[in-house]
Point group: C2
Chain length 404, copies 2
């Protein structure tokens, strides 16, 4: 059995997005190569809600929730019934799978909160959990926290488009060998890869056949670029008995400051998730829940504009990195880029600190998404276009400075 000391070493969060401010930059002068690169500070560890503003009406919705007083402050743990009703209907339309507001949906403090609840109710000591590498860092860390065993599933993302994806034989072998839960994000975080319709249907069928619980993170599924197609696993013909889909308005809609997310799926699991929420955070902040009424309820054209704005930045940055010899897959959805660095004279974490110190740019090291990925960095490009382009050029310049 792992000690708490060892467990929390594995949960180390010093390199997690947003925590950079806690790292000392004191000793970097002595190892710096090249000059300081001036430019507007860009924090690519998360999106910039000043560049892409929160959903129209969010502030007003919060204020009207506050004015409702006690009945909005104290909702059911799974969230206010009326808000769930609207959400279930709109999410049902979005995914193509009807959702019961009464039994199949829970509101959580962020998509992160929903992910925790989903894994917290399906993973215990010794549970084998298939986790894609690379994928969102909390997937792996939550399994460690809960005492489960991570079974890594490789995502081939550097291949030609037709060969991208997970190896379904590897996945089936994991299912055959006692894996009880499979958690993955599509679009994938950090690469922006979207699982094909064929693959999604095959994963659903395999999970059904082997009675594996599926947790599908669709956080970025609305930010889908020109010509791309998205498949919601929950709407497949064959699905496993235990299936939870999670999504939230923190990214595309820039509502992260409200900590709101949603999980929907198997009633028995949603019930358990509510029991867990009761002892973890009680509920998503009552007044904040009101803001969910604005989600999937946007003014006409709002989503298209937002996607167009991000697609322009994606194309610029993707061009800059590949021209600068940082091989980078073109994301099909979401706002992440995952450039691969050339061989450097310093290790990845030092390079990331140097980027901050020398080039005024914050990025997240690839090790957060795959402990063995020591040659890539993740950028959330939901930023001001001009500032992001300039910062991307500084990153390329920095890679030249430190390239062997």
């Amino acid at each position: 059995m792992m000690t708490l000391e060892d467990k929390f070493k594995l949960l180390e969060a010093d390199h997690a997005p947003g925590q950079e401010v806690r790292q000392s930059l004191g000793d970097l002068n002595s190892i710096m190569i090249g000059e300081k690169l001036d430019g507007i500070f860009v924090d690519f560890s998360h999106g910039d809600v000043d560049a892409f503003a929160p959903l129209p009406g969010a502030e007003e919705a919060w204020n009207s929730g506050f004015k409702k007083g006690a009945k909005q402050a104290y909702t059911e743990y799974r969230g206010a019934a009326k808000i769930r009703t609207g959400l279930a209907e709109r999410l049902g339309k979005f995914t193509g799978k009807p959702i019961s507001a009464e039994n199949e949906l829970i509101i959580a403090p962020g998509t992160q909160g929903a992910l925790f609840l989903a894994l917290g109710t399906t993973v215990t000591f010794g549970t084998k959990v298939a986790v894609v590498t690379p994928d969102y860092f909390a997937n792996r860390k939550l399994v460690v926290f809960l005492g489960g065993e991570v079974v890594p599933i490789t995502l081939n993302y550097k291949e030609a488009q037709s060969k991208m994806g997970v190896d379904l034989n590897q996945l089936e072998n994991a299912f055959k060998s006692g894996t009880e839960v499979f958690v993955f994000s599509t679009p994938n975080n950090p690469t922006g890869f979207v699982y094909s319709s064929t693959t999604i249907n095959q994963i659903a069928a395999l999970a059904a056949a082997y009675n594996v619980t599926l947790i599908v993170d669709e956080l970025y599924s609305r930010m889908l670029y020109s010509g791309e197609k998205y498949t919601h696993l929950c709407a497949c013909d064959v699905v496993p008995e235990n299936l939870i889909t999670i999504i939230g308005p923190s990214k595309t809609e820039s509502l992260s400051g409200f900590r709101l997310g949603v999980a929907f799926g198997t009633p028995k699991l949603i019930d358990r998730m509510e029991r867990l929420q009761a002892i973890v955070s009680l509920r998503a902040a009552g007044y904040n829940q009101s803001v969910l009424d604005t989600w999937f309820n946007e003014p006409p054209g709002w989503l298209e504009d937002r996607i167009r704005g991000h697609e322009a930045i994606r194309d610029e940055l993707h061009g800059i990195f590949n021209a600068g010899k940082l091989q980078t897959v073109c994301p099909q959805a979401g706002s992440y880029l995952f450039p691969q660095l050339p061989e450097l004279s310093v290790d990845l974490h030092t390079f990331v600190r140097l980027l901050r110190y020398q080039a005024n740019v914050v990025v997240t090291p690839g090790t957060e998404f795959d402990p063995n990925c020591t040659d890539s960095i993740r950028l959330n490009f939901s930023q001001d276009l001009t500032a992001a382009v300039a910062a991307a050029k500084r990153i390329v310049k920095m890679a030249e400075f430190y390239s062997i």
Copy 2:
């Protein structure tokens, strides 16, 4: 090893405060004794923030936080540095123990969130945790969720004032037999009992001697009634190496709808708690954190007024229950009453449902606080005085109807 199925049975939340709306009342007509008792609906399962309004300035603080944009949306996981700095100073003054904002304090989604983080970082499979009975329901349930073993410590609360409290011999025996963590609330939830200065000092010394981690829940410590004294364990001369104190503005200050709480203590544990928060909810909602600036920063006289208002209700209700033969300890702090019912012809959970159906009153059954406590109900009397008095009289009447 407990299965997930069994674990989540033990975490059943149908009787938890706020969840009453999910219970069916359909079959009660056939067992009803006496007539329906009309009166304004009172939900004693939590305080009424319409009767006692949120702290002055809370709404404005939230709006100014929202206007700060990105820097307030994305704080460090442990909370915005500037807000922590103010809080650490004010909480240091309140408790008499200086607190480092940098290393010794974390902001969580509610005091509930802080409690989860504290136990989540100190309890794993097999950890023995001393839990007071009765005490806040999540203490016991969190230990179950984390795979620990509950070691019950009896709180004698029905005795004469001089004999009230925990038996320190029982506690020391638990510490001697491998208990690694002790969690308790003072004032106690549900009784309002405040641990004496002598006892607090003895608990601190025992924990130090046996190297036991202490988690002290001071949620209701500001709502202290006339003539009572409160001792902060963290300010004792001898304290254990591992000590976490939790507190939040959800109760006395009526800010529950914001989900804000704080934990402070041993830097190593606070570090771990931040790592856990990173994968559970990331952070307390960014904009909401701004509201903490109003806490322990109230207008002169505000706290005294609030205490006076609650003391008046306490005295009225305490009188009504004891006159009505529902023996009830007089709380020294907080806004809970824990009346003991006479022997009834129906079981406790049925009686609680009947109270809702027949008397328009919601209360929480004693079993939430001690699984064996099937003869008591808890009321949060932070309510409108007139409505609460009428509802208390209906409870007495109902006890008469169903008394054997």
